[in-house]
């Protein structure tokens, strides 16, 4: 497996800072905006954004984690049942502006399930989508992000992995390519 670093830890930090400022442009002081990270990997993006936003705004940002397992469209199309992660939204979404956050936008199916799952917590006034990586040209559904860390053109055989210091040991985004002889 060949690998190519798309963003190293320094660039990733810059990207997160830029995304935080873009969010503030549209959401001012976040008084009626919440961030919701999609399990399992979007929650790390949320915790990074929360850190940045709290430094800039000097106030607490309301965040939640959302698991979409029961809303997926591939139940029984897999060998094994999908085992859920924790959902942690202890606030009402009624009339809130919600920024849905994930690490990689690929087919769009996860986001579709995420929107359905989100609406079981009430009727938000607006939902936006933020992703660190947009693998454009690979969409199965008509879904686009409002805030994008970086666009990546990739093949189906390639894999984009957003890695974090607390799990993988280093903050970076990597593109894995299968070797031609694999």
């Amino acid at each position: 497996m060949e690998k190519q670093v798309i963003l190293n830890s320094k660039h990733l930090e810059l990207t997160l800072k830029r995304l935080s400022h873009e969010l503030i442009e549209s959401h001012n002081d976040f008084s009626d905006t919440v961030l919701v990270g999609l399990q399992p990997r979007g929650i790390y993006v949320v915790s990074q954004l929360k850190k940045q936003l709290e430094i800039i705004l000097g106030k607490e940002i309301v965040c939640g984690n959302l698991d979409i397992t029961f809303f997926r469209d591939d139940f029984r199309r897999r060998e094994k049942p999908l085992i859920p992660s924790i959902t942690n939204i202890d606030f009402s979404l009624e009339n809130k502006k919600v920024v849905l956050v994930d690490d990689v936008l690929y087919t769009g199916r996860t986001i579709r399930a995420g929107l359905d799952a989100l609406l079981t917590f009430g009727r938000p006034s607006k939902v936006e989508l933020l992703v660190l990586i947009d693998r454009r040209f690979r969409r199965d559904l008509p879904i686009q992000a409002d805030y994008i860390g970086k666009m990546v053109d990739s093949l189906i055989s390639e894999r984009v992995s957003v890695e974090w210091e607390e799990i993988e040991g280093e903050d970076k985004i990597v593109l894995y390519t299968k070797d031609s002889n694999e």
């Binding site: 029961f70 809303f71 997926r72 029984r76 199309r77 924790i86 959902t87 079981t120």
Partner: protein, 309 residues
């Protein structure tokens, strides 16, 4: 390990500890779902489930039905009274007729021990046993153990006494299997006539003295006297049974520690448990009912994942 080792849930005896842990982990997520403003997920929208009840039930039937609805499954309800069973149709014929309407899963309660296992060998659908005579009631045992885990943090190492009509109770047998697999110690307590003579083979403690049993335990699961299954008298009178084996506030308060009180329902207030105990803070009877929906959602979800497309 994220798949059940069984294709049907006929009894706890067939489950491994890993299966039970998986069911509990999945139930944790469903418990969160059923406390959302919109308590429904679309996972099973292409699955049809038949609830076939050859015996009376309130809690179990409602709980299964609610679990199925929360998972968006389509439901058929069938009860033996008012059906062709009265005209002499056999169990397999009845079920096969229902299955030819393209049903994927059958939840069955039946008065004969082994009915669920028998059905699972004969028909092409996932079977969940909702109680087969005096044999097993697996989802009740799962929700009981889940409720103990919720209240006390763990099941491992806890001491649980099951009090009452052990002889006729499917809840007792399933509970013994389930609690032992999770590492709890189990005691049964009741009149000699209501404890099966081979009970010691299950590696449980036996007591005929309620106070002694309660002093030993962390959790007391009080069972109902199953008069409908008793063809002869097993004790002189209900009043005498109640005096010897009924749980009342006086005994509870005189114990050296606070214990958790459970009851699978339906309660005969004033017989096996007094009202003040059933409604006390130590009782987790209504938590058991809430957890029942989450546990049944988990079992149905995990078995539905095994249905061929």
């Amino acid at each position: 390990m994220n798949n059940l080792s069984v294709d049907h849930l006929t009894g706890i005896k067939d489950l491994s500890k890993e299966d039970i842990d998986l069911i509990f982990k999945t139930a944790d997520s469903f418990k969160e779902v059923i406390n959302r403003p919109i308590k429904k997920v679309p996972s099973l929208r292409d699955i049809t489930i038949a609830n076939i009840f050859f015996e009376n039930s309130t809690r179990t039937k409602l709980s299964f039905e609610l679990a199925e609805k929360r998972l968006s499954a389509d439901i058929l309800n069938f009860s033996a009274s008012g059906s062709s069973v009265k005209k002499g149709e056999t169990l397999i014929d009845t079920v096969n007729n229902i299955l030819s309407m393209k049903v994927d899963m059958v939840i069955m309660r039946h008065p004969n021990p082994g009915a669920a296992l028998f059905l699972s060998q004969k028909v092409n659908a996932k079977i969940i046993n909702a109680g087969d005579g005096t044999h097993e009631h697996p989802t009740q045992a799962l929700l009981d153990a889940y409720s103990i885990r919720e209240k006390l943090g763990v099941v491992q190492g806890k001491k649980v006494v099951i009090v009452g009509d052990i002889l006729h109770s499917r809840v007792a047998l399933s509970n013994i299997y389930c609690l032992q697999k999770l590492g709890a110690e189990v005691m049964v307590c009741g009149p000699t006539t209501l404890i099966p003579k081979d009970m010691h083979l299950l590696n449980v403690k036996i007591s005929h003295n309620l106070r002694e049993a309660l002093e030993w335990c962390d959790v007391a699961n009080m069972l109902r006297i199953q008069s409908e299954r008793q063809e002869i008298s097993y004790f002189p009178s209900l009043r005498e049974y109640s005096m010897q084996f009924g749980l009342n506030k006086e005994i509870l308060n005189s114990l050296s520690k606070e214990i958790v009180v459970m009851h699978p329902g339906p309660i005969n207030r004033g017989v096996e448990i007094t009202s003040d105990v059933a409604d006390s803070k130590q009782s987790i009877i209504l938590n058991q009912v809430e957890n029942g929906v989450a546990i049944r959602m988990a079992v149905i979800y995990l078995l539905a994942a095994k249905i061929d497309r």
